[in-house]
C-alpha cells in the first residue's frame, strides 16, 4: 500500500476539522446563524465570520491534496518527544507558579494568599519556584545533564526578572498575583 504523505494527511485532517467546525461546532456553539433578520432588516449573524474561517481551512485542506510539495515536512517522533518534554516542563512550571504561593500561605501564612499577594516574600514564592523550575528543567533537558550552573542561571534569571518588573513599578504584579 502506498504510504500516505504528510501533506495528504494534513489535508484530510483540515477537511475533517473544517466540516466539524462548519456543521457541528459553529451551529451548536453560536447564538445566531449566518444571517439574521432584526427589525425588518437583514444583518450578519455571529456564525458568518467563523464560517469564513472554516471555509479558509476547508479550501486549504483541498489544496493540500492537490498541491505539489517539494518537501513533505512533518513532525517526527523525535520532534514529538522534544515538544512533549518541553510541554511537561512548561505545564509543571506554570502550575507551580500558580499554586505554590497559595499553598505556602495556607500552610505557614497568617492570612489567605489573596491578602498576602502584594507582600514579600509571599508574592515571590510562586514566580521563583515555578519560573525557576521551568528554566532549570529546560536548560537541563537541552544540555542533557543536570548541573549547578543551570540551577544558578534559573535563580539569577528569576531574580533579574523580579528586579525588572516588581521593583520599579508599584502597580505591576508578577504571576500569579494579578488574578488569584
Amino acid at each position: 500500500m502506498r504510504k500516505l504523505s504528510a501533506s495528504t494527511a494534513l489535508g484530510v485532517g483540515c477537511i475533517a476539522f473544517a466540516l466539524i467546525l462548519a456543521f457541528i461546532w459553529i451551529p451548536l456553539d453560536t447564538e445566531t446563524w449566518l444571517v439574521e433578520r432584526k427589525r425588518g432588516r437583514y444583518i450578519a449573524g455571529d456564525s458568518l465570520a467563523p464560517t469564513l474561517a472554516a471555509g479558509f481551512i476547508l479550501i486549504a485542506g483541498v489544496m493540500l491534496l492537490f498541491e505539489r510539495q517539494t518537501l513533505d515536512l512533518h513532525p517526527t517522533r523525535y520532534n514529538l518527544a522534544f515538544i512533549g518534554a518541553i510541554s511537561i516542563f512548561g505545564i509543571v512550571g506554570i502550575l507551580l507558579m500558580r499554586w505554590t504561593g497559595p499553598i505556602a500561605a495556607s500552610l505557614f501564612g497568617a492570612d489567605e494568599y489573596r491578602l498576602l499577594r502584594d507582600t514579600a516574600p509571599w508574592k515571590y514564592i510562586g514566580f521563583v519556584i515555578g519560573g525557576g523550575t521551568m528554566v532549570f528543567c529546560i536548560v537541563s533537558f537541552v544540555e542533557q545533564r543536570v548541573t549547578w550552573r543551570a540551577l544558578w542561571i534559573a535563580l539569577v534569571a528569576v531574580v533579574v526578572i523580579i528586579a525588572l518588573y516588581d521593583l520599579p513599578f508599584d502597580d505591576v504584579l508578577l504571576p500569579p498575583n494579578g488574578d488569584v
Binding site: 456553539d29 447564538e31 479558509f56 498541491e67 513532525p75 506554570i94 519560573g131 529546560i138
Partner: protein, 532 residues
C-alpha cells in the same frame, strides 16, 4: 484657530518628537523622551540582532508590556513606545550582520546571504571592513525605503479613502489575507490554513450576541483569546521551542570560536563606496518594491538582491576582484541593502491601509491598539483644517524613522562593530530565560494566568506549524485583521440592505475578490522556496 495645511502637520509631527516631555537635558539642550526611546530601541535592536537566537520580534514582545507599564494608556505614550519599536526594528536588521560576518552565523534569518561573502572577508582579515560595508549598505537601503514610505503612504491612504467604500475595503482585506497566505511560505495551501486558523482563533469568544460564540460556555474562552497571547505564543514562543530543539539535537560544540585577526586597511574608502553603490541602489529598489507587498519577507528580498547583484558582478567585475561567495564586498552590499530596505516599505500597507505586512508591523499595531488614540489605516491621513491628532502622530512616526536612521548612520556602525562577543552567549541558557521573561511580560500586560496558558498553548501550535512547514505569519495577520474584516463586512452588509452579493456588486470590490482567488490558484501551480 488657523487652518492647518500639510506643512503644518509635518511640522507638528516633528515638534511632537523633539518637543515632547523632556527626558533629560544635555549641555542645556532638552532631549525628549521620544528621542531617548528611539535611541534605546536602536541600541537594543542592534544587540538582539547581533545575538543569534534572539531578534527584533522577541525584543518587541518583551519590551511592549514594560513600555506600556512605564508610559501608560494615553496618547502621549504613542510616540515614545512606537519610536522604541521602530528603533528595535531598524537596529535588529543592522545587528543581524555582525555574527553573520564574524562567525558565519546569521543573527537574523535575512542575514544568511551576508555570510556568503561576509565570512570569507572576515577570514581574509577584513572583518571590520566587511562590517562597515554591511552597515553602510544596510542604512542606505533603509533610508531609501523610509523615503519611499513617507512619500507613498499618505497618497495611497488618500486614494483608498477616496475610492473605497465598505464593500471594497472588505474585499481589499480579503485580498490582503489571500496574498499573504499565498506568498509568505512555500505553499499557498499551508498559508491559507495558517490564515484560517488565525481567523478562527480571533472569532472565539467574540461577536455581537450575548453568548460569546465558540466558547463551549467556558469562562476562559468567553472573553476571547488575548491578541498578545496569540501573537507572542505563535511567533515568539514557537520560535524559542524550535531553537531549543535545534540545540537539543546538536552535539554540543565545545571548541572555542576562532576569529581571524584583522589585517591591512580596514577603512571604507570613497572608491569602495563608488564600487558598491550601484549594488546598493539596485537592491534598495528590489527590497522596497518587495517590502511594499504585505507578507513578503526580507529573506526573499535579500535572496533576489544577492542573485541580481551576482549576475551583474559576474559580467562587470575586474579579473582581480573576488567572485560573489568568495568575499566580495558587493555581495554584502547587495544583500544588506535589500533586506534593510524591506523594513520601511513594509510599513506602507500598515500606515496607509491598516494591514500589517510583517511581524514588526504587527507589534506596531499591537502597541497602537493597547495604548489607544491611533488607528493605523487610511483614516489617519485626513488632512483636515481642524487638528487631526492621528495625522500628527503619523508624521511623528516618520520623524522617528528619520531620527533612527540618523542615529544609525552616526553611532550605529560603531556600536554594531563592538558586539562580536554576543555570539558567545550560550543559547541553551539564554532561550529558557527569554521564554520565562516573555511569559512574565505577557502576564504584566494581561494580568491573567489564562493569558500564560494561551501563550504556551499557542507556542506549541507555532512549533507544530513550523514542523509542518507552515508559516506563522498568516496566522498572526489573520488574527490581527479578523475583527476588522468582520466589522467591515457587517457594516457593508447592512449598508447594502442585506445584499448577499455585496462583495461582487462594485467593480473594484469584485476585482479585489477575483484577484484574491486568482492569487491563491496561481500560486498552486508551482511550489516555491520558503521566503519568509
Amino acid at each position: 484657530m488657523t487652518d492647518l495645511g500639510t506643512l503644518d502637520y509635518i511640522w507638528l509631527g516633528i515638534l511632537a518628537v523633539f518637543q515632547g516631555p523632556e527626558a533629560f537635558s544635555l549641555l542645556g539642550v532638552s532631549v525628549s523622551i521620544t528621542v531617548m526611546m528611539v535611541a534605546f530601541g536602536l541600541v537594543l535592536g542592534i544587540v538582539v540582532g547581533a545575538t543569534p537566537g534572539l531578534g527584533g520580534v522577541i525584543a518587541m514582545a518583551i519590551s511592549l508590556p514594560i513600555l506600556i507599564s512605564i508610559f501608560g494608556f494615553n496618547s502621549d505614550a504613542l510616540l515614545p513606545v512606537m519610536g522604541f519599536l521602530i528603533g528595535v526594528m531598524k537596529g535588529s536588521t543592522v545587528g543581524g550582520a555582525v555574527p553573520a560576518i564574524l562567525f558565519n552565523t546569521p543573527g537574523t534569518p535575512d542575514a544568511y546571504m551576508t555570510t556568503l561573502d561576509g565570512y570569507p572577508m572576515a577570514q581574509a582579515g577584513k572583518a571590520r571592513k566587511a562590517l562597515k560595508v554591511s552597515h553602510f549598505s544596510s542604512v542606505t537601503g533603509d533610508t531609501f525605503s523610509d523615503i519611499v514610505l513617507i512619500v507613498c503612504a499618505p497618497f495611497l491612504a488618500i486614494l483608498v479613502e477616496s475610492y473605497l467604500d465598505l464593500p471594497e475595503k472588505t474585499a481589499l482585506l480579503i485580498l490582503s489575507l489571500s496574498f499573504i497566505a499565498a506568498v509568505v511560505s512555500g505553499s499557498a495551501a499551508k498559508g491559507l490554513l495558517s490564515c484560517g486558523l488565525g481567523l478562527l482563533a480571533v472569532y472565539i469568544g467574540t461577536g455581537e450576541d450575548f453568548y460569546p460564540r465558540l466558547s463551549f460556555g467556558s469562562d476562559a474562552l468567553s472573553d476571547g483569546i488575548p491578541i498578545t497571547a496569540a501573537v507572542i505564543g505563535v511567533l515568539v514562543i514557537g520560535a524559542i521551542f524550535g531553537e531549543l530543539e535545534n540545540l537539543w539535537s546538536q552535539t554540543r560544540r565545545t571548541g572555542e570560536i576562532e576569529i581571524a585577526q584583522d589585517e591591512g586597511d580596514q577603512r571604507l574608502h570613497w572608491s569602495d563606496i563608488r564600487r558598491i553603490f550601484p549594488y546598493i541602489g539596485r537592491s534598495a529598489i528590489i527590497g522596497t518594491t518587495i517590502g511594499a507587498l504585505p507578507g513578503v519577507g526580507s529573506t526573499l528580498a535579500a535572496t533576489i538582491g544577492y542573485a541580481t547583484g551576482k549576475r551583474i558582478h559576474t559580467k562587470k567585475k575586474r579579473p582581480e576582484d573576488p567572485e560573489f561567495g568568495q568575499g566580495a564586498p558587493e555581495g554584502i552590499a547587495a544583500t544588506e541593502a535589500a533586506n534593510s530596505s524591506v523594513s520601511g516599505a513594509n510599513l506602507i500597507p500598515v500606515l496607509s491601509l491598516g494591514i500589517p505586512g510583517n511581524t514588526a508591523a504587527v507589534f506596531l499595531i499591537l502597541a497602537a491598539e493597547s495604548i489607544g488614540g491611533f488607528n493605523p489605516g487610511p483614516a489617519v491621513f485626513k488632512f483636515s483644517s481642524d487638528l487631526n491628532p492621528e495625522l500628527v502622530i503619523a508624521f511623528g512616526l516618520f520623524t522617528t524613522m528619520i531620527l533612527a536612521n540618523l542615529l544609525n548612520w552616526t553611532v550605529g556602525g560603531l556600536f554594531m562593530r563592538s558586539l562580536g562577543a554576543l555570539v558567545r552567549i550560550p543559547k541553551q541558557y539564554l532561550l529558557p530565560v527569554v521564554l520565562l521573561l516573555t511569559l512574565a511580560s505577557l502576564y504584566v500586560q494581561e494580568t491573567s494566568m489564562s493569558a500564560i496558558w494561551f501563550a504556551f498553548g499557542f507556542g506549541i501550535l507555532g512549533y507544530f506549524m513550523m514542523r509542518f512547514g507552515i508559516s506563522p505569519l498568516p496566522f498572526v495577520i489573520g488574527f490581527v485583521l479578523g475583527g476588522r474584516i468582520e466589522d467591515t463586512a457587517r457594516q457593508a452588509f447592512s449598508a447594502t440592505g442585506g445584499d448577499p452579493w455585496f462583495l461582487l456588486k462594485s467593480p473594484i470590490a469584485a476585482t479585489f475578490i477575483l484577484c484574491a482567488i486568482a492569487v491563491i490558484f496561481l500560486s498552486l501551480r508551482k511550489p516555491k522556496a520558503d521566503n519568509t
